[in-house]
Symmetry: C2
Subunit: 260 residues, 2 copies
Amino acid sequence: MCFNEEKIVNEIIHFIRNYFKDNKLKGVVIGISGGKDSAVVATLFTKALGHDNVEGIWMPCNSNTEDYQDAKLLCNKLKINLNEFDLTNIYNLFNDNIDCNIKKTSLIDANINLKPRLRMTTLYYYASILSKTKNGTYIVAGTSNKSELYVGYFTKGGDNSCDIEILSDLTVTEVIKIGEYLKIPDKIIHKIPNDGLSNQTDEEKLGVTYHDIDLFINNELSSINIENQNKIVKLHNNNLHKFTRAKYRKDNNENRNICR
Amino acid sequence: MCFNEEKIVNEIIHFIRNYFKDNKLKGVVIGISGGKDSAVVATLFTKALGHDNVEGIWMPCNSNTEDYQDAKLLCNKLKINLNEFDLTNIYNLFNDNIDCNIKKTSLIDANINLKPRLRMTTLYYYASILSKTKNGTYIVAGTSNKSELYVGYFTKGGDNSCDIEILSDLTVTEVIKIGEYLKIPDKIIHKIPNDGLSNQTDEEKLGVTYHDIDLFINNELSSINIENQNKIVKLHNNNLHKFTRAKYRKDNNENRNICR
């Protein structure tokens, strides 16, 4: 295996410190879910910036108690603040505001994607307030990993709206290795990932395992059965729109010829 | 003048139709503010897709009555739905949820940027619900123009989170020309732009006029005084971070050498 945890951790710490120094930033805001990705992100930022400059935000919205306990466990271990911002009432108001003639079943998908967008909004809200109260700019860290991004398993304008990403080039397999190297509690690092939104695990929802996705990303196609290869290709292609916006551009050549 | 309104309008309609056809989309959701940008966007989408496939959303949050009347005037003229979604209670809950020890003055900037993020969240919420209830995919249209984008006058994760942009290559001067060509009411097209957030006009807030920004974009520097040139350069450079995210990337060359 050529993946060197120590080297990657040092590179990430170096990357964070340089970025903060170059841009005269003070601190970072991280949504703490109780899962592995936000745990690894919080640990690396704490190593890079010190615990005073890292703020965890726990944003429950019909969330489960175990996740809260794990979020608390992590932040206690790192000695970082865990701010609580309950989104339940805000989330419910979205449902209440919508025309009552709309069937509840039509709201299911809308509600699933509503939560990550409200969480992004909350993280930026905290970043802005902390920038005032602590006299220095706070930015928002993303927690998406390379495997999730590859299959488009994120919400546009939600968890992919952030200022800095440190896991976006690391597969789930690699994030777990980094988490073990950083001695993050096993129950967090090896928790079965779910989005906390749809009552399904990530892998149930995707229809493929992260193990297969990671093999695919590393071009090890012969280790994955054809059906799962097809699923991965389809997820990737169908979600490519999430990385871009369609933009009209003037037909510049013609305009230039007329103008000049 | 080499700007040909008719040609640009036809190009945009063609661009929208092609994009919807290629991606098998049904309709579009547009936040209607009562200002010129959303009016031009709504008019062009209505021309391209027909009034049944365009949904306007009015999202007041301590908004003024005149803007609502203009939003209503526009949508009546276009024969498109104007859905209303009042964000005031949701907005207030954000303030209420925050620790009461934080001074009100620390919330000002946070609140200004909160509104566009809640509006983006609402537009996607409608797009998702309409996709269910109308049996076909609805997407979210952005309304930013090239001048605003150039100086970074938008909220990250807010008004710049959308699926399709048709004004992002048109300056304010050009958007106004298109609006006049489309016979959008003068009171909308020539309304003095303000963000509806900070009680200042855009130009007061930016400290420069859109006229100067548009000259700058067209490289006509000799027509702008030095002080305003400097302001525009500074706004542009200081807001470049809004267009990107800092991303850690593995030092691939080295990893490749070890692996292969």
